[in-house]
Amino acid sequence: MTDAVSVLGSQHRSLARDVWHQFWRHKGALGGAAVFILIAVAVLFGSMTHGVDPQYLDYKAKNQGMSLAHPMGTDNLGRDMFARVLAGGRLSLAVGVAAMALSLSLGSGVGVLAGFFQRLDGPLMRLTDLFLALPVLPLLLVSIMLFRDPLRSVLGPEVGLFVLIVAVIGITSWMQTARIVRGEVLAVKQREFVLAARSVGTRPHRIIVRHVLPNALSPITVSATLGIAQAIITESALSFLGLGFPSDFPTWGRLLYDGVPFLGLTPARVVWPGLAISLTVLSINYMGDGLRDAMDPRMRRR
């Protein structure tokens, strides 16, 4: 440890560089990042090399096992499972990232406002407590049942459902981020540089954007990473209960749900999408663990 510090000491040290070094030393985090990048690249560009239309029906080749032409077999309508898993992954990851972005901006917004402005602290934190007491899964199911049809008729079937699911997941998952960010902002607010900024007449929103937010970046990054995993799991659970995406444009969760009636015939239809969800979530969780350790100043200075 000491020689690593002395090597680092001879160079210019920045937060990003320190975090990078710590992250690089964390084997689990590195493995997680590698697997996640692999999955993301496969999902984004895999369809170019595989070149099979996920919607193409080939009745003569239905319920097939693994083969060279169909690496993951086919479903009961003869659709290629590999192409469907790739397409489903694109949607699953898109839902995960979009829901995370929404929940992160809501959570950071509430957290910064509550931490920075004393007057807002009480009401906003009571609101957070209220949201934490809501039964999330039943409410998600209910709101999808209620708003599915109206939104689909306004925005079209695919976009409407995407917006709805991202919105409900985002709105019900921002509370942890808000609490963490508030704590961090409360600590940063007491530091001298904020006082200095205030004493030269900097406006509150400038202080927040220039001084407070960059210093609260580490917990935000960690909860962003873990938020993607949580959103992917929630979306697949909804799809698994039949209240997520339809099977025309399935996510991994929906593919799994569609595969369940054919468990005895083609178990691969359940195993591949399930493995994809599990591997993605596992790799993200490992990345989150590594990031948390890397960004923890107590760990870094050792």
Binding site: P138, L139, L141, V142, P150, G274, I277, L282
Partner: protein, 337 residues
Amino acid sequence: MLRYAARRLLFSIPTLLVISFIVFALLDLAPNDPTAQLPLTIPPETRQAIRENLGLGQPFHVRYLRWLTQFMVHEPLNLAERMWGVEIGNSEERLRVRSWSTRAPVVDLIATRLPQTLTVVGVSYLVAVLLAVPVGVFSAYRQYSIFDHVGTFVTTVGFSVPTFFTGTVLIVVFSATLGWLPSIYDTTHQVTDFDSFVYQVRQMVMPVMVLGLYNAAQLSRFTRSAVLDNLNQEYVRTARAKGLTEPVVILVHVLRNSLIPVVTVIALGLPSTFAGAIITEQIFRINGVGQLLIGAIESADIPTVQTVTFIFAVLIVVFNLLADLLYGVLDPRIRYD
């Protein structure tokens, strides 16, 4: 302490009222018509009469307040009557929240479903705690050992893999391929003799394992870090210095102190386990409360959905309160002023 408890109890009433309002209002937005499923030959005025009979004619606040009194006042009174066998007022006249699809009181529907859910959730949570605490303590005690590395890996996998995947994989392996365990949970099954008891155990193995292992993964990670926090404390060194044996140091001194946060997490996790059981019930076709909710959502049976959702919220608020109070009871350093 008692004053704190009373204050917390009082504070949870407005929280519950706000949640009940949110749940009721959200579902009241539902653009559906309970008479839509009925035959088209029914004349419009009869249809209107049916709707009014279901209590839909009145304005929003009347319906909300009526639902609230039916659930918060009438049902507890009914429960008290049944428990103590006394008659409080005129119980025949008392209005109850009724399901649109079965016309039965929702609380009675829930009461018929609750035992199944309670058995599965209760047993699996017990399994989770019994598994997680020893594993967590031992991983922390032998930090960075092979056991710790394997344990940490398994727990990370355990809470990353969603229950609906582990459940279906278990069905593929143990029901579809090996044929050892039934894939459908038979709730009409009654335990009368040893053979039927064995069947009950066999049908409970998979749901309990799926839900239990998922919770055990989270709990054991938490236990491990709680024990690690305590192992470096000075009182542990003191205990060792005065010659106590390792089992006494770990199991009496460290464990007791580390379990304080763990117990609160166990209490906090119980409501979300109930909600999570919705998925497990769906996998193994257990007709518990979760299935009732899913069925009610699919058939747009609004009163049932409102009531079940609200009960989940009550569970969360009650267990949060319980966790807060437990923390104070277990840890004398915590003072409530």
